[in-house]
């Protein structure tokens, strides 16, 4: 059997990171009850270009975009079950949380934070698994 992957493509092309940067993966894939989003970085919603900023700035842009992409697929941040956050420096964990917390005010999802290098000098990258 060949399964047909059900790609999630943002309606707003500026939020379609793999398309903007010609990378060979999907923004997200829907698989039955779950949606898997690729790791997202901060992009300027008016141009689609990388938006380098503070950890707070980047986190806010990413989670706003994540909300938009999920909502367009019939899901939402409230339906996220797990996120993974890659942070350029664990010394900035408090800044991450400051920007992250308002998006998940009640019953926040499971989360893993790793200190890691992120491509192109970004400070934050976040992926998620959400209920479809």
């Amino acid at each position: 059997m060949t399964a047909k992957r059900q790609a999630i493509t943002p309606a707003d092309a500026k939020l379609d990171i793999p398309k903007t940067f010609a990378l060979p993966y999907a923004t997200g894939v829907k698989a039955c009850e779950f949606i898997f989003l690729s790791g997202m970085i901060a992009v300027d919603p008016s141009t689609g270009e990388r938006a380098h900023g503070s950890v707070v700035d980047e986190t806010t842009l990413i989670l706003r975009a994540m909300a938009t992409v999920l909502e367009a697929s019939g899901s939402s941040l409230a339906k996220v079950v797990k996120t993974t956050v890659w942070l350029h420096s664990m010394l900035e964990l408090e800044d991450l949380d400051r920007a992250y917390q308002p998006f998940f005010a009640s019953a926040p999802p499971a989360r893993t934070v790793c200190g890691a290098r992120i491509n192109n000098g970004m400070k934050v990258q976040i992926d998620c698994i959400a209920l479809a």
């Binding site: 060949t2 399964a3 060979p24 993966y25 999907a26 993974t84 992926d127």
Partner: protein, 137 residues
Amino acid sequence: MALNRTIHEPSNPVLNVSRREGRPHSPSVRIGDYVFVSGMVPVSPQTGLRTQGPIADQVATVLSNMQHLLESNGWSLDHIVRLNITLANLLEADDMWRVFRKFFPDNPPAATLMGMQLSFGNLVEIECVAYVGDAGR
């Protein structure tokens, strides 16, 4: 609802690294319609030794071993919904994507790239989640 967790291995015993090296993890676990594949590093399907060549070769080895693991159980690369790719050196991202494209030429899965230290001098490690539905039952 009780879901059964089942363990799935590659049919080539040389590639069953977690078992062969007595590691406390399984090559892959199925729960319901989903399969979670542990991080895989480049291992030669002939010798079982790490293949420490250029990044392009290492990525090709990992993805073809991942294909073998999936196909050993009645699944395929087409079932993969998301991959996490760790590179020891992000400067090699372009070479990684070049090989990645060959394995997922169209309608590719979701993917996340990160740069982290890897053990034993490996340059790449890849894990994935597959949605296999009823396949392989």
